[in-house]
Amino acid sequence: MRKVTFPHMGTSHIAFKALLEDMGNEVVVPKRPNREILSLGVANAPEFACIPLKITLGSYIDALRRGADTIVATGGVGPCRAGYYTALQKKILERMGFAFEMIVFEPLSTGLWRLIDNIRKLNSARLSVAAVISAVRRCWEKIKALDELERMLHYVRPREVVRGAAERAYNAGVRLLETTNTFKGIAEARDEGLRLLRSVEVDPDADPVRVGIVGEIYVVLEPAANLEMEKTLGELGAEVHRSIFLTGWTQDNAIHEGGGRKIKRAALPYLPEMIGGHGQDSVGHTVIYSREGLDGVIQLAPFTCIPEIVAKAILPKVSEDLDIPVLSFFLDEQTGEAGVRTRLEAFVDLLKRRRESRRGFAGKGVA
């Protein structure tokens, strides 16, 4: 039986595991990235590659050692480096002496045949076309449900009375989703998870500042890569609005890379070009967040990430023009939790004070 692994990204492994098992594969579930996995990646990756390459490489090494023989990952056609990472990782892993097959899902624009071929390879159980479609749809429903729970968590966390209560409710919901695999079961688990989150005791007078998160998809979606910044922000009393969820991104990028017309339009005055990765999205989302009246924006990027460096050069201008504070984090294996926390505290403080002084002015205006 094929033993399949894939990159760890947030909670998505729950949905992908079920899908690959439905198709008759044994799944070597990627571990949540930790020090050990990161060190494996750092030791074998090019020094100036970005942290997503290092984490995923470390995670593949770990999974191959645990018996995986197939790696499933996504490709890309540039100009972001991630599009070439699977090809490079394959060479590095082969050079290390691992024998495995790498199955790469490229954007559909590069050819439908390859997609069909990939699915056929992974269809170890020889499911019918209808059964494969049903399994993919269930996987999709599960990812949607996971995203929904996370959105609710972002709303409840800054308002919770007992610290950690929202997180506990969320985790319970995720576990429910993990244990079911029918359309009905997924819908029920989602509703139950949402109900648990809604029943968390909240402070009715809580008035959290609203912070938008923009940046590169992997460090935004993988809490282990961003040192659980969303959690820290929630605990500091900030409501997180995240620009990227796996569901939205997949819809924008499955056929052609770099979709999302509304975001492109918003970015137009500052960065009219799709520069790969999420560079243009980071600029566009910042513009949109300022229009929506958010109090501030945080840019999360892997150290050396090319598109986000371009975005970082442009964001100060956006921030000045639209009067919205922007804080950039470039994350690598050296980034420490304490330093991140201090900067976040200062930023949330700044946002709160800005808001107070604005409300003060508004009050005077009325009087």
């Binding site: 100009p79 090809a87 070009e273 371009v310 442009i314």
Partner: protein, 320 residues
């Protein structure tokens, strides 16, 4: 009434080293005056470091420095958005967002002329870029058409001065026919910028080494290496560097390969590792040379000398 031509500033950085003939001819033909910034110096780099986003690579910082140097001497700065010049590859994201980075980060610079150059879907992409420039400078299209044609012809005819991009280009290569031949592979804007490359090519000449660069490989030769890749490298310059390296490893017509890479270069994290893996697989002498803003003459020379020593000993051993 006297007519003062518009002064177009061209930064001596990045694609200047590849496409200067085309654009200089074009601007001259439409009646503009051309101001090319002086070769890179410490001051240019320092200005770039001050003004560019701190995470940018050295060549992008150098570019910002050259744009600064043109302030006050040019009416416009020509800073095209270079997306693709063939149907296969694109440029690094920093090239794609270059005019936007410069506009957002720098104050008090001349307005930018930044046509988009993308030949992926439109074979006439270069002509439309010319018309875009012509329109912003209010040049009649008949004149633009003629200038475009002449620029294309000039680009085709150009002989690459050695080393390219330098005013003193006609210089003789000092070590032809010498026993040792080393390929210096890297992006033209790093290899041929004497300041950025710490004058590597002349240092090698001084050591009696004949130098080969990517410019000396024909497209056909490079494309012969395509079969080696399950997936081609999709950045324009990196694709050429990696293929030239593979060519050297496989044909063994040089004695060693030095890969010049500038600090902070994103695509090089990929390109350098691809070269490194193939060099060690084929057992070919290979040295990556990482150049940053603090690279000193001494340290670099020592490494280069050690490498040259090593390969000349290997070669001497073969002959004996």
């Amino acid at each position: 009434m006297t007519f003062t031509p518009i002064r177009i500033g061209i930064p001596r950085a990045l694609f200047y080293y590849t496409f200067s003939t085309f654009w200089e001819t074009f601007f001259r033909e439409i009646g503009s005056e051309i101001v090319v910034s002086q070769p890179t110096t410490r001051e240019v780099l320092d200005a770039g470091i001050r003004e560019a986003v701190s995470e940018a690579c050295i060549p992008i910082k150098v570019y910002h420095g050259h744009v600064r140097a043109l302030a006050g001497t040019a009416d416009f700065v020509f800073a095209p958005r270079l997306v693709s010049v063939d149907r296969r590859t694109v440029f690094c994201p920093k090239f794609l967002g270059l005019p936007d980075m410069v506009r957002s980060s720098m104050d008090g610079i001349p307005p930018l002329l930044s046509p988009r150059i993308d030949l992926r879907k439109n074979l006439l992409g270069l002509a439309s870029a010319c018309f875009e420039v012509g329109a912003s400078l209010k040049v009649p299209s008949s004149k633009v058409m003629l200038a475009y044609a002449r620029a294309c012809a000039a680009h085709k005819r150009r002989t690459i001065p050695w080393p390219p991009g330098n005013a003193d280009g006609g210089e003789e290569r000092t070590a032809p026919g010498s026993p040792l031949k080393i390929a210096v592979l890297g992006y033209p804007y790093a290899v041929f910028d004497r300041y950025v490359s710490v004058d590597l090519i002349r240092k090698l000449w001084a050591l009696g080494v004949d130098v080969v660069t990517i410019e000396m490989f024909t497209d056909a030769e490079l494309n012969e290496e395509s079969a080696q890749f399950s997936k081609g490298v999709f950045w324009h310059y990196s694709d050429r560097v990696v293929k030239a390296g593979y060519r050297c490893f496989h044909t063994r017509r040089v004695d060693g390969v030095i890969h010049v890479t500038a600090f902070g270069c994103g695509p090089d994290a990929v390109a350098d590792r691809l070269l490194d893996i193939e060099a060690s697989r084929t057992g070919f002498p290979f040295m990556p040379l990482l150049i940053d803003e603090h690279t000193g003459e001494g340290g670099l020379l020592t490494r280069v000398e050690a490498f040259v020593d090593m390969i000349s000993r290997v070669k001497g051993g073969d002959g004996a």
